[in-house]
C-alpha cells in the first residue's frame, strides 16, 4: 500500500506530468546556409543540360519541357528526391541561376569561380550492337534534327552521333552537352561520356581573363 501511494505521489506530480507531455526544447530547424534540395528561382531555363551533366547520381535531375507560351518552349529542371544527394553542383554550374540552394550562389559570386567542361564520347565497339538508341535518346540530336525525334531515323550529318552503315559513328563531339542520357539509355552498357570539368577562378583585378586554379 505504501509503495502504491509512493508511486502515485511520484507520478502525479505536476512537474513530472509536464515534463512527460511537453517537450523541453523546440525542435531544431535547418539553418539558412543549409544546402537543401535546389529550388526553382523562376528564371528562364535555356536547357543547356549543364545540371544533368554535372550531377554525380543517376536519375537525380532531368531537364524537361513542361509547356509552351507564345510559341516558345518552357524548360524546367526537375529534381527527384530519394535520388538527389544535395551536393549543390547543379546550382553552382547553372549559367542562368535557375536553381538556388542555401548560400551557394552567394559564395560563387564572392569567390568569382566558374566551371569549364569538355566531353569525350566513348563507344565500346565490342559491346555496341549499333541499335542507335543513344542517338534517338540524345536531347541535342532531337533538337538538331526534328525528324529523328519523331521518326527515330535520320540522314542528317549535323547530329552528334548516328548509325552509319551499321556502325555507331560519333560525328560532332563538340556539340555534346555531357548530359549522359545516352549512357543511361544504352541497353548494352557500351556508351560512356568522359567529362572533364575544371573549376576556374577569375583574377580579382581583371574579371575577363581567367587563370587556371586546378580542377
Amino acid at each position: 500500500m505504501t509503495s502504491l501511494s509512493a508511486y502515485l505521489s511520484h507520478m502525479l506530480r505536476a512537474e513530472w506530468i509536464r515534463s512527460f507531455f511537453l517537450v523541453k526544447t523546440k525542435p531544431l530547424t535547418k539553418p539558412a546556409y543549409f544546402m537543401d534540395y535546389p529550388i526553382d528561382t523562376g528564371k528562364r531555363c535555356t536547357h543547356c543540360f549543364s545540371c544533368m551533366m554535372i550531377c554525380p547520381v543517376p536519375d537525380a535531375i532531368s531537364v524537361l519541357m513542361v509547356g509552351e507560351t507564345e510559341g516558345e518552349d518552357i524548360w524546367k529542371p526537375v529534381l527527384y528526391q530519394g535520388h538527389c544527394i544535395r551536393c549543390g553542383l547543379c546550382v553552382e554550374i547553372c549559367p542562368e541561376r535557375v536553381l538556388a540552394s542555401g548560400d551557394i550562389i552567394e559564395r560563387v559570386r564572392q569567390d568569382s569561380t566558374y566551371m569549364q567542361s569538355t566531353f569525350h564520347i566513348l563507344v565500346n565497339e565490342g559491346k555496341c550492337a549499333g541499335c542507335g538508341t543513344c542517338s534517338i535518346a540524345c536531347p541535342v540530336n532531337k533538337e538538331i534534327d526534328p525528324i529523328l525525334a519523331s521518326k527515330g531515323t535520320t540522314t542528317s550529318d549535323e547530329v552528334i552521333m548516328r548509325v552509319k552503315a551499321g556502325v555507331m559513328r560519333v560525328l560532332h563531339e563538340e556539340k555534346c552537352t555531357g548530359c549522359k542520357t545516352c549512357v543511361l539509355h544504352c541497353s548494352y552498357q557500351a556508351m560512356d561520356v568522359a567529362r572533364v570539368i575544371e573549376c576556374l577562378q577569375y583574377e580579382s583585378d581583371d574579371e575577363t581573363s581567367a587563370t587556371n586554379e586546378g580542377g
Partner: protein
Amino acid sequence: MSLLQKLKNSVRKRSIHVSFVDTASCNGCDIEILACLAPRYDLEQYGIYVHNNPRDADVLLVVGAVTEQWIDKLPMLWDKIPEPKVAIAIGNCAISGCVFHRPGSYTDPPVSKHIPVALSIPGCPPRPDEIIQAILAVAPIAFKDYEKKL
C-alpha cells in the same frame, strides 16, 4: 472516444520505441541517427526511445541499399517486431539505391521491396531534425487506436 482511449493515445504519442538496422549503408545515415541521440537534438525529450533489440521496438529505421546477405534477414527481422509496427526508410540508399543502384552492383534496393515501408526520408544523409520530424509524424498515426484495428 472514451476518456481512457484519449489518454492511451496521448501516452502512445510520447512513447515511441525505435530500433535501427543498417543494411549496408556508407555509415553517413547511421551517424545522423546517432546525432539524434546526442544532447543537441535529444530524442528522448520527444518520447522516442532507442532499443538494440527489434523485439522491444515498434518502429524500425532501415538504412542502406539492401545487400544480398540482407535479402532474407531483413524480413526475418521485421517479423520479430511485435504489432503495431512501422518501418521507416532513411536515406537515398533505402529509397532508390542511389549511387549503388547500378548494373552489376551487389545490392537489391529499395527496402520497400522486402518489407512494407510506411515512410521514407530522402537525403544523403537526411538531417537529424528531418529524421525526428518524420518519426514524430508517423508514429501517432500508426499507433492511434491500434487495439481497435485488430
